[in-house]
């Protein structure tokens, strides 16, 4: 049900853009006003959210340690999963963010209890989520990089190189970018497992389906533009450059599918800072990953540490138990006569 609502919502956005830019001829609004506003919301919202996190204190160093600690000299430390210095921690973060290392560790529990046999509980490797998550995220990244050609004049060599590699298979005309297919596979898998796995269906919200449908529809509308409508890329670049250089002109000869694509992207940008998609920035700030396991070696300051919180004092303890302690012959700071 939540998936259907999300799908309807995304379809409504498509219809809105089609009618608005196509039938109602509001190209200027859909080419300039909407993406411009969305971009501002994205940047301001994103920065505000990150500042909001960053200004909150980290009272304690609570890394989740994933290997042997730094200890006696002759015991090798797992420096990249239980770091004790800044550079080691940076390496741990690098692996986490670039290779999705924690997800790579994923296992799946298997429970079998056939009658008459001993029950089996086992944990088997489950790398599918990792694989498709990697495909999805890297495809997304490469697609974003490719799109930078529309914003930059002249087009940097780096982007041309990325495009070359991404289309190296040379299939179809216009040549298909592999990432276009891979992002569909990645997002499709992420969606399918939410619908198929009962546990995931149970925990999934509109907040989970909506961005998946949105990203899928962005990819599909983009592919429609390139492979089916075969839109005029130079005309689009004119529009985009107009947007980035603030020289707005009435767009001409651009297919409606472009406005649909831009409208969906705008929605994603505006939605981004208020959603779970902020994990993009949050992963950098996670205190169980981005801190060294070093508080036995170095002091960590808690800004709200309250020095007035003291232990129940030894004096009060001895006052409480002086007589029996004396009788038991335990050493005392004040013997009963002194205390009396």
């Amino acid at each position: 049900m939540k998936a259907i609502y999300s799908l309807i919502l995304v379809l409504a956005l498509v219809v809105l853009a089609t009618l608005g830019a196509g039938a109602a001829k509001m190209q200027t609004i859909f080419a300039y006003c909407v993406p411009g506003t969305a971009f501002v919301i994205f940047v301001v919202g994103f920065v505000a959210k990150v500042i909001g996190w960053a200004k909150r204190p980290v009272p304690f160093r609570i890394p989740t340690t994933g290997g042997q600690q730094q200890t006696l000299d002759w015991i090798p430390q797992n420096k990249w999963d239980n770091p004790s210095t800044g550079p080691q921690t940076a390496m741990r973060m690098f692996l986490e963010i670039v290779t999705f290392r924690s997800l790579f560790r994923n296992t799946k529990v298997l429970l079998k209890h056939d009658d008459g046999k001993n029950p089996i509980v086992a944990y088997v490797s489950a790398k599918w989520l990792w694989l498709f998550a990697i495909l999805f995220h890297y495809s997304f990244l490469i697609i974003v990089i490719r799109h930078m050609r529309l914003f930059l004049q002249p087009v940097p060599k780096f982007i041309v190189g990325v495009e070359f590699v991404d289309s190296v298979l040379q299939i179809y005309t216009p040549i298909v970018y592999q990432t276009d297919l891979l992002i569909l596979a990645g997002a499709g898998f992420l969606l399918a497992r939410r619908l198929y796995d009962a546990k995931l269906r149970y925990i999934s919200l509109v907040n989970d389906y909506f961005p998946l449908f949105l990203i899928l529809s962005i990819a599909l509308s983009g592919m429609y533009m390139r492979y089916i409508a075969k839109v005029d890329v130079m005309a689009i670049k004119d529009v985009v450059m107009g947007l980035t250089t603030f020289t707005f002109k009435v767009p001409k000869g651009v297919d409606t599918s472009f406005y649909v694509h831009v409208f969906l992207v705008s929605t994603l940008l505006a939605y981004f800072p208020f959603s779970k998609l902020m994990h993009l920035a949050g992963v950098f700030l996670s205190p169980t990953r981005n801190l060294p396991n070093d508080t036995r070696m170095h002091h960590h300051e808690n800004p709200w540490n309250d020095p007035s919180i003291k232990p129940h004092s030894y004096e009060a303890y001895e006052d409480d138990f002086r007589e029996p302690m004396f009788e038991a012959g335990l050493p005392l700071d004040k013997n009963p006569e002194e205390a009396a």
């Binding site: 996190w53 960053a54 909150r56 980290v58 009272p59 160093r61 609570i62 989740t64 340690t65 994933g66 290997g67 600690q69 006696l72 015991i75 239980n82 924690s102 997800l103 560790r105 296992t107 529990v109 429970l111 209890h113 029950p119 509980v121 944990y123 998550a133 497992r193 009962a198 546990k199 995931l200 149970y202 925990i203 919200l205 907040n207 208020f274 779970k276 902020m278 994990h279 700030l285 996670s286 205190p287 169980t288 990953r289 396991n293 508080t295 036995r296 070696m297 002091h299 300051e301 020095p307 003291k310 232990p311 129940h312 030894y314 138990f321 029996p324 009788e327 012959g329 335990l330 050493p331």
Partner: protein, 544 residues
């Protein structure tokens, strides 16, 4: 102990397919056996007197009854507390914001694996709080409501929190697998803090906390009784080894203060581990003292509130200063070591007196530079260093009837990373050691299901379900390698793993690491022992 179903029936009762009703619509099951008993009124009153901003609403109440006797403004108290913590902890705010519900954590929790209750999936456990965060603190949540996983705070939500945040042992296994490191322990700790504000609590945590505060240990052993127990153990050691040893108590002027969980002083089999420490210290001539004031290594405050944890922890430095100890040696304990490793210096480092120094092993000269700030060394690190330098002589044949495995306790595993030290010690004192399967040990270790204050008998069904992953892995090495002993470095484990092993892998006994050290350690040349620390005959002496 409440009567529970047989292991076979329990396994067959597990179903990972969630019910048809949405979790927000599923009513709370508050029948007996589903929750630990609430704290006694006088314990809460005492703690409220000690820390009024932490504990509240002492009263007699019963979770099975509809009326929980909450203060009239309970919602205001809880919501203000929630808001305050969102500003004090980046972790909480971040963990409320960035979860994508990928589900990687779902089948990592031992309570989910053994029970199948969807609210025990870590992602949903956190959603219990996240839904309130959305519904009460975010605009979108207020407008869109349930579709976006938002809801408002109600008494039933508070009851749900009580049920499920006391079915989390803060073991952090989920956090290891989370691609963003979202730590359910952190969420659980915050939820429990909020519940304490309105007097929702369990006795198995608050009675130990109040005992620790007053008598110095969670069992409430008073100083003279503590001395009696130590003398009793000294007598037993003499019976076993033929040697009378001296154990300093509350003495000033010793180099090292030794602190261990009080479970080691009181409960079988912890006492054998304690005897192991005493034998070791005597054998190497260590200049140390015990303290009755700081006689609890375990910090039950951690299961209540950061300030209570700080206050109880502060006794360690206070006592080291009073007695003039240069550094502190810590015994085998789980969450005690998470506190020492990740909280102690941050909370109480400024209490350290000028006499405290970077710990140096007086026997080997090794500088424990990894403890230069806290001045506190783990006994497994200490003993591993002694063995590496050839300072200890062992007669492994005394442990030759033992086929051992090792249970990594959650906190030294995922809150510290102590894996090789105990294994090195264990391999030095037993001949046969087999690890459990790799997805169940080291950083992926499974909890005993009684951590964070849950090792109480009235929730035995929940504990045994949560104990399934550990028990099953133990059963595996029992059948494959003939393992008959599981060693561990945690006092809670030594209490909880016994019923767990009896239930899931009958025939496996539980020991502390230093019990086996104490067994094998040769005190003087030519010494012959006929019994182990449990006063059972050693291999080869069964007939006598």
């Amino acid at each position: 102990m409440a009567k529970i179903i047989k292991p076979d029936e329990m396994i067959r009762s597990i179903n990972y397919t969630p019910p048809a009703t949405d979790w927000m619509e599923t009513p709370n099951d508050l029948s007996p056996g589903r929750f630990a008993y609430p704290a006694k009124e006088d314990k809460v009153a005492y703690l409220q007197h000690e820390m009024p901003h932490v504990f509240g609403n002492p009263r007699v109440w019963n979770p099975s009854e509809a009326d929980w006797k909450l203060p009239a403004n309970w919602k205001e108290i809880v919501m203000n507390g929630f808001r305050e913590r969102l500003d004090k902890y980046r972790s909480l705010k971040l963990f409320m914001d960035i979860c994508v519900r990928c589900g990687a954590c779902a089948d990592k929790c031992h309570f989910f694996i053994g029970g199948g209750d969807p609210r025990n999936m870590p992602v949903l456990r956190a959603e219990l709080m996240r839904s309130i965060y959305r519904g009460e603190f975010t605009l979108a949540g207020k407008i869109l409501g349930k579709l976006t996983g938002a809801r408002v705070m109600e008494e039933d939500v508070l009851k749900e929190w009580f049920l499920y945040f006391y079915q989390c042992t803060e073991c952090r296994r989920c956090s290891l697998f989370c691609p963003y490191g979202i730590d359910t322990a952190e969420v659980t700790m915050m939820a429990r803090e909020l519940l304490h504000l309105v007097g929702i609590n369990i006795n198995w945590i608050l009675e130990p906390v109040s005992n620790c505060n007053r008598t110095g240990n969670h069992l409430g052993i008073q100083p003279h009784a503590f001395k009696d127990i130590v003398e009793f153990m000294v007598d037993d050691i003499e019976t076993i080894t033929g040697k009378h040893i001296n154990v300093p108590l509350n003495e000033k002027g010793h180099e090292i203060l030794f602190i261990t969980p009080s479970g080691d002083v009181f409960a079988d089999p912890g006492i054998y581990t304690f005897m192991g420490y005493l034998i070791l210290f005597d054998a190497i001539g260590l200049d140390y003292t015990l303290s009755t004031y700081a006689s609890e290594g375990g910090n039950f405050g951690m299961f209540t509130h950061a300030d209570m944890m700080k206050s109880l922890n502060g006794k360690m430095y206070a006592e080291a200063n009073r007695l003039g100890a240069k550094w502190i040696l810590g015994g085998e304990c789980g969450h005690m070591w998470r506190v020492i490793n990740q909280y102690m210096d941050t909370m109480n480092g400024s209490m350290q007196g000028p006499q405290m120094q970077t710990p140096v092993n007086p026997i080997t000269g090794t500088v424990f530079s990894n403890a230069k700030q806290t001045k506190m060394v783990h006994i497994a690190e200490f003993t591993a260093d002694l063995i590496k330098h050839g300072k200890l002589k062992f007669d492994k044949s005394r442990n030759s009837d033992i086929i051992a495995t090792f249970h990594d306790s959650c906190n030294p595993a995922r809150g510290m990373g102590m894996f090789e030290e105990p294994r090195y010690v264990l391999n030095s004192v037993v001949d046969q050691f087999y690890d459990m399967p790799e997805n169940t040990i080291r950083e992926q270790t499974f909890c005993c299901a009684g951590g964070s204050g849950l090792n109480t008998d009235e929730i035995m069904d929940i504990r045994m379900r949560g104990g399934l992953p550990r028990g099953n892995a133990l059963r595996y090495v029992q059948e494959k390698n003939g393992v008959n002993t599981m060693a561990c470095v945690c006092a809670i484990d030594r209490a909880t793993l016994i019923p767990l092993a009896d239930y899931w892998a009958p025939g496996v006994k539980i020991t502390g690491l230093h019990e086996l050290v104490g067994n094998a350690l040769i005190l003087e040349d030519g010494e012959e022992r006929t019994m182990n620390l449990r006063q059972e005959p050693l291999p080869g002496f069964e007939e006598e």
